[in-house]
């Protein structure tokens, strides 16, 4: 794409984009600009509007206001087809590959090359191999099956599929390195460098500030639905600036006051715990009456740790102790038998049986207590459910309403009601306030604090760092499968915690952090 030396026309220009959903203003007069041949970073916390503006560009959401111009062509309403025609390609977070297909077949999926005798397999193989080698610097045998490839190679195949038709002018990468191990990232980086050499622009969306600093020419920071700043040159020293722009907001009185906690018995302990895939050699302790937070980006092992603790996944190494006793958890039922209950991140899929009533859901784990000779005692079940839901102030107070019809916050409370009824001693909250409105959030934090005051041990795994800092007594930070820091309440501010989870150090490199070297800015020990 020809461009004058001093003032190249942008390949993408989005100005004044606004988009609202019921109850939430996702984008508020946001703008974004990408120059040809540059790698442009897009950063921001969850909910800042990054993914929404990408979806507007992809034609998935129709903006309420604003202009989108691609290669000089203004689009009234971007549609997937139009945007594709103008040279925009998307590398989604989900791979969308077929495990039993070969590399060549995957690269040409939806774009099969045919001739008189049907599929031109040899040509597809040749082109796939050549594209991967020349444009992406990857030496891959085109006959390999996707299911036999490692994550980085699969990512490269996904990229090849998007670009093989050679019409790409702007490639949008959405969290490309999240599932990758530290050593594999280099391959994706090399591919992106190659693209830049060919004059293809890249929009790189990521949480990992270290990577942003290394890879990008310019970076736009989003916060609260708009672009709040742009750095025209980035390097390792820019972390502070980036974080400042990402975070700058007031913490309201969302979180209850926590009195200093110490000396409770150890309720949960892990020793060298590993799941054989995502995390290993994990040491952690949670005391009765304590609220422990677990922070970590997607891919850090945080989700898998929660799965192991709750019995949904088996540990492969190390031990898990509940109430001082080593346990082997084969299922969530086993965990519950030891008093550990999970409030899952996907409450609609895993937390509640949506088509059952509030009463049924509340009593589901303790049916034996509301039955006689195996028969459900309806009145007692109702009473028990009402008791729990009143305590938690579930609204509307209709015990016969099916769970599907309650709002997100109240659904969360229904899950809690069930665990209250089951006298859970350890509660593991996985992303507790996703999709929950502000008022209900404060309530949930208050409930957590109360439960802890009564002796329950609470673990909170969350993407929302503000939440962790506000409600937890301590926060454990996971990065690429290991614990890299433990932070006491009040010892760290939001910027500091962001730095810890993204592996941003003052001048270090991501690889060093991944191997567990101590990180500047922590106060707690790394046990």
């Amino acid at each position: 794409m020809p461009a004058t030396a001093s003032q190249p026309d942008p390949v993408l220009q989005m100005t004044g984009i606004s988009k609202s959903f019921p109850g939430v203003r996702a984008l508020d007069d946001a703008s974004l600009e990408v120059l040809p041949g540059e790698v442009h970073g897009l950063v921001g916390e969850n909910g800042a509007g990054k993914s929404t503006i990408i979806k507007v560009l992809a034609g998935v959401h129709v903006p309420d206001a604003g202009r989108v111009t691609i290669n000089g062509q203004q689009l009234a309403e971007p549609t997937p087809h139009a945007v594709h025609e103008l040279g925009v390609r998307f590398i989604h977070q989900e791979l969308h590959l077929v495990p039993r297909f070969t590399v060549a077949e995957s690269v040409f999926m939806g774009n099969e090359q045919t001739g008189v005798l049907g599929l031109r397999r040899r040509e597809m193989r040749r082109r796939a191999e050549r594209f991967l080698a020349d444009q992406l610097g990857a030496e891959l045998d085109p006959g390999t099956l996707i299911r036999d490839l490692g994550p980085a190679e699969r990512k490269l195949v996904q990229i090849a599929r998007a670009l093989v038709d050679e019409g790409g002018r702007l490639v949008v990468f959405d969290e490309p390195t999240a599932p990758l191990a530290a050593q594999e990232i280099g391959r994706v980086f090399a591919a992106i460098q190659r693209l830049r050499e060919q004059g293809v622009a890249c929009l790189y969306v990521s949480h990992y500030l270290a990577e942003i600093a290394e890879l990008c020419d310019r970076v736009t920071v989003f916060r609260n639905g708009r672009d709040v700043g742009r750095l025209d040159s980035v390097d390792a020293s820019s972390h502070g600036e980036l974080i400042r722009l990402m975070v700058g907001r007031e913490l309201g009185q969302m979180f209850p006051e926590r009195t200093a906690r110490s000396g409770g018995a150890v309720a949960v302990a892990t020793k060298a715990l590993g799941d054989g895939a995502r995390f290993s050699d994990l040491h952690m302790e949670v005391h009765e009456g304590e609220i422990l937070g677990i922070a970590g980006l997607p891919g850090s092992g945080r989700e898998e740790l929660v799965d192991v603790l709750s019995g949904r996944r088996r540990a492969r190494s190390g031990t898990l102790e509940l109430g001082g006793r080593a346990v082997r958890l084969g299922s969530p039922a086993d965990a519950l038998a030891h008093g550990l209950a999970l409030v899952p991140r996907d409450r609609r899929e895993d937390g509640l049986v949506l088509d059952m009533t509030a009463t049924a859901n509340t009593n589901l784990s303790t049916l034996d207590r509301v039955s006689k000779y195996g028969l459900v005692l309806r009145r007692r079940a109702r009473e028990r459910a009402t008791q729990m839901t009143q305590r938690l102030d579930v609204r509307p107070p209709e015990p016969d309403r099916i769970a599907r019809l309650f709002s997100g916050g109240n659904q969360q409370k229904l899950v809690l009601a069930r665990w209250l009824a089951a006298d859970a001693r350890v509660l593991v909250f996985d992303e507790p306030t996703v999709g929950v409105d502000v008022g209900a959030r404060a309530e949930i934090y208050r409930l957590m604090s109360e439960l802890a005051d009564h002796g329950t041990a609470i673990l909170v795994s969350s993407n929302d760092l503000e939440e962790l800092l506000g409600v937890c007594d301590r926060v454990v930070v996971l990065l690429r499968g290991t614990v890299t820091a433990v932070v006491e309440h009040g010892a760290c501010d939001l910027a500091g915690l962001v730095a810890l989870t993204t592996g941003a150090t003052t001048g270090g490199d991501p690889l060093a952090v991944a191997t567990g070297r101590s990180v500047a800015g922590t106060d707690g020990d790394g046990s």
């Binding site: 949904r312 969530p332 038998a337 895993d350 088509d355 589901l364 019809l405 309650f406 089951a422």
Partner: protein
């Protein structure tokens, strides 16, 4: 996707009426069917004929109840046909070959059903084979075992069965045929378990959202095993009744019941507010199919034509149930 909106309940009132209509679609069809047959044949609405329908539906009811339990738990069981056959065969064989007293013979029949159910639960729970493939395999094996055991598919005759055994199919208690009584008892048991007991709540939860049931601490594996074994036993009860009535065991007789049972369950589910398989609905479905068979008989259709028509009606019934369920859900 409207994921942001869902959870805040707002049911449009028009949709509500539509949903209600959809749910009662089959009741309506049932009424129409009765009307047609009553018109076509003067013998249809006689008490004698109607009690024939009821008595003739007992075996199908038992198989359909077994299927209801399995489908409610989130699976399917194609091998109920074989469990039925085993029930009939084992009980007759026990008396014929081992001179067993009739209570023991009945137990042997039930054991046959339990064997089928155990194989299913092993394949499904232990090996992780999907229910349809697993029970399909069991179906094939069971069929061949029957053929082997009866030396190539011949009937097992037992005309001189003890009267006590015959009484099960032909006797009466207070004017009600014993087999109908047995059917009624099993019906009530199933109703209590599936619709009123803690086990039923857990089974429904498993069938609706297995992942959520597991997180809630339900031991879904154990329940699955119990469900498949219970289904096998229930179908075997039907087999015992069948052999008691006919005193002949015809191998592979069970297959005919399979599809009817599935249809009855789905018809029943379409009548439920949340499209769940349920005992009362299954009963309606069974009676619907029983009336259909009876009516076609009375009209005097050729045997083959009757079979063909039943097959076609089955397809229509399944398709309608699916459409009705979808409409009820979307409205």
């Amino acid at each position: 996707m409207s994921s942001a909106n869902v959870g805040i309940g707002q049911r449009p009132s028009v949709g509500r009426l539509g949903r209600l209509l959809a749910r009662f679609a089959f009741i309506g069809a049932f009424a129409i069917l009765i009307a047609i047959f009553a018109f076509a044949s003067p013998n249809f609405l006689t008490p004698g004929n109607l009690s024939n329908v009821v008595e003739g539906s007992v075996v199908l009811l038992l198989v359909a109840l077994a299927m209801t339990l399995v489908v409610a738990s989130g699976g399917i069981d194609l091998s109920v046909a074989v469990a039925l056959d085993f029930g009939a065969w084992f009980s007759l064989a026990a008396m014929l070959n081992f001179d067993a007293p009739w209570p023991l013979a009945i137990l042997a029949g039930l054991a046959g059903g339990a064997v089928v159910g155990s194989l299913n639960s092993f394949l499904i729970v232990r090996l992780g084979v999907t229910p349809f493939l697993a029970t399909l395999g069991t179906l094939f094996i069971g069929r061949s075992v029957q053929q082997i055991g009866t030396g190539g598919g011949g009937n097992v005759n037992f005309r001189a069965a003890p009267d006590d055994f015959r009484w099960f199919a032909q006797g009466e208690v207070f004017g009600i045929p014993v087999d109908v009584l047995v059917g009624a008892v099993v019906l009530v048991i199933y109703f209590i378990i599936l619709e009123r007991s803690v086990y039923g709540v857990r089974i429904h939860a498993m069938g609706m959202q297995d992942a959520a049931a597991r997180v809630a601490g339900l031991r879904t594996n154990r329940y699955r095993v119990a469900v498949y074994v219970a289904a096998g036993i229930t179908a075997a009860v039907g087999g015992v009744l069948l052999s008691a009535g006919l005193r002949i065991f015809t191998p592979l007789a069970g297959f005919a019941y399979l599809l009817n049972a599935i249809a009855a369950v789905f018809i029943g589910a379409s009548m439920h507010p949340r499209q769940r398989p349920n005992v009362p609905g299954t009963l309606v479905g069974v009676l619907f199919l029983g009336v259909l068979a009876n009516g076609l008989d009375l009209i005097g259709l050729d045997f083959n034509l009757k079979a063909a028509l039943q097959g076609i009606v089955l397809v229509i019934a399944l398709a309608s149930a699916a459409v009705v369920s979808r409409l009820s859900r979307e409205a």
